[in-house]
């Protein structure tokens, strides 16, 4: 999707603002958002690619005007409604309720099994191991050209890297294709590579000398480059 989330090379966002001794969270609600998203994935209500795509489609103007955890909240809400876990109307009604009753405590509930399951994922991850097939089409050193496609859905091929020549730098293994997985089209595992580009190939006269950009790209994003 050619959205504003695809930020590589955009101008005008100003200087980096670093915060000294930055805390892990800046507000209590951010903590709950992080955990609710984790639960969405642990319970397999949705996957990480659906999660990222729901951020991409949260609204272009709103994306730029909101914070990281507000992006997460938008995505979690969207997916919980789309997956029929909650209804939009009950969420709106409950929000109005807490606005009117801000000191009302959350319902009390103990769930040791859920706690154990979530903590296991926090400590060990949700392993999506490399798969044995299909065999990689390219090997390190091979010249490739990225496809110049403009998908309306999710992709991990950035706009600035489309239609450009690079070389295979590393083969990482075979992994779920986000372009399919974000849209309920299955896992479609594909070889994943680190592809190396000369900065000038991507950025023309704005490139810095001797710089290279390495991007992780799935095999279907790539075509063999013709020998020149």
């Amino acid at each position: 999707m050619n959205g504003v989330h695809d930020l590589g090379g955009r101008h005008g966002f100003g200087p980096i603002q670093r915060e000294a001794n930055e805390p892990a969270f800046h507000a209590e609600w951010e903590k709950a958002v992080l955990v609710m998203n984790l639960i969405g994935m642990v319970k397999r209500i949705y996957n990480i690619d659906e999660f990222r795509h729901a951020i991409e489609r949260m609204g272009q103007q709103r994306y730029l005007d909101t914070s990281y955890y507000e992006h997460w909240l938008a995505s979690v809400e969207t997916l919980l409604v789309e997956k029929s876990v909650i209804k939009r109307e009950e969420l709106e009604a409950r929000t109005n309720h807490f606005e009117a009753n801000p000191t009302e405590p959350l319902p009390d509930r103990k769930d040791p099994e859920l706690l154990a399951r979530v903590m296991n994922v926090v400590r060990k991850g949700m392993a999506e191991k490399s798969e044995p097939d299909p065999a990689p089409r390219f090997k390190p050193g091979d010249a490739v050209i990225t496809r110049n496609w403009q998908p309306r859905g999710h992709t991990r091929l950035p706009g600035y890297a489309r239609g450009h020549r690079g070389r295979i730098h590393l083969f990482h293994g075979v992994y779920i294709l986000p372009d399919a997985h974000a849209h309920g089209r299955g896992r479609c595992p594909e070889p994943l590579y680190s592809v190396s580009f000369e900065s000038g190939e991507l950025w023309g006269d704005a490139a810095e000398p001797k710089a290279r950009v390495h991007i992780d790209l799935w095999e279907s994003y790539l075509q063999p480059a013709e020998k020149t």
Partner: protein
């Protein structure tokens, strides 16, 4: 006089409580889960884990080789694993001639297991937008750090759900690893 009562809480606070209460009622959440997970990210998951692996690599050449060859396994040796990069970690090395920067231009991929939750600047458009084409000038203007030779620069964009690649800083002066030169600074 309770000044904290004078301003109403922002809408997002009520929205999140609404979502939490609905998920608790539906058997998908408990406040205890929120507390325990948050405690782990605040106390146990953070840059000290990555620092431990890098310090070991500075003083143990065999470990350094393992770390660069198979980051996932070498980090697991030190008990470093978990959500956020733990499924596959690729470690790359800063050298006297190549300096690496890591950026996710599409979202905010970050190696949680070695660096903790990403800081706000890493997730902000101001870092994500120029980093892929202005690595050298960005780094030297935006950070107060030792200047880095312009000889060679790499930018790395982790695009996968399953792996991240932190860049290992070079060893400080006086450490024992003979193959690593004195360093200027660590990668973010």
């Amino acid at each position: 006089m309770g000044s904290h009562h004078s301003e109403p809480e922002p809408w997002v606070v009520h929205r999140v409580r609404a979502l939490e209460s609905l998920l608790i009622e539906k058997g998908l959440l408990s406040t205890e889960v929120v507390d325990k997970v948050v405690q782990t990210y605040e106390k146990d998951v953070g840059p000290m884990n990555g620092a431990r692996a890098v310090a070991r690599a500075w003083t143990d050449p065999a470990y350094k080789q393992r770390l660069l060859a198979d980051g996932t396994a070498a980090l697991a040796e030190l008990g470093i694993s978990g959500r956020g990069g733990g499924d596959k970690m690729v470690v790359i090395e800063n050298t006297p001639t190549v300096h690496n920067m890591v950026v996710c231009t599409l979202c905010s991929c970050y190696p949680w297991i070695v660096l903790g939750l990403p800081p706000v600047w890493y997730k902000a458009p101001a870092y994500r937008s120029p980093c892929s084409n202005r690595a050298w000038s960005w780094e030297n203007s935006a950070w107060s750090c030792h200047p880095i030779p312009r000889s060679a620069y790499g930018t790395r964009a982790p695009k996968s759900a399953t792996w991240c690649c932190p860049a290992a800083p070079r060893a400080p002066r006086g450490s024992r690893s003979p193959s690593w030169r004195p360093s200027s600074r660590a990668m973010p």
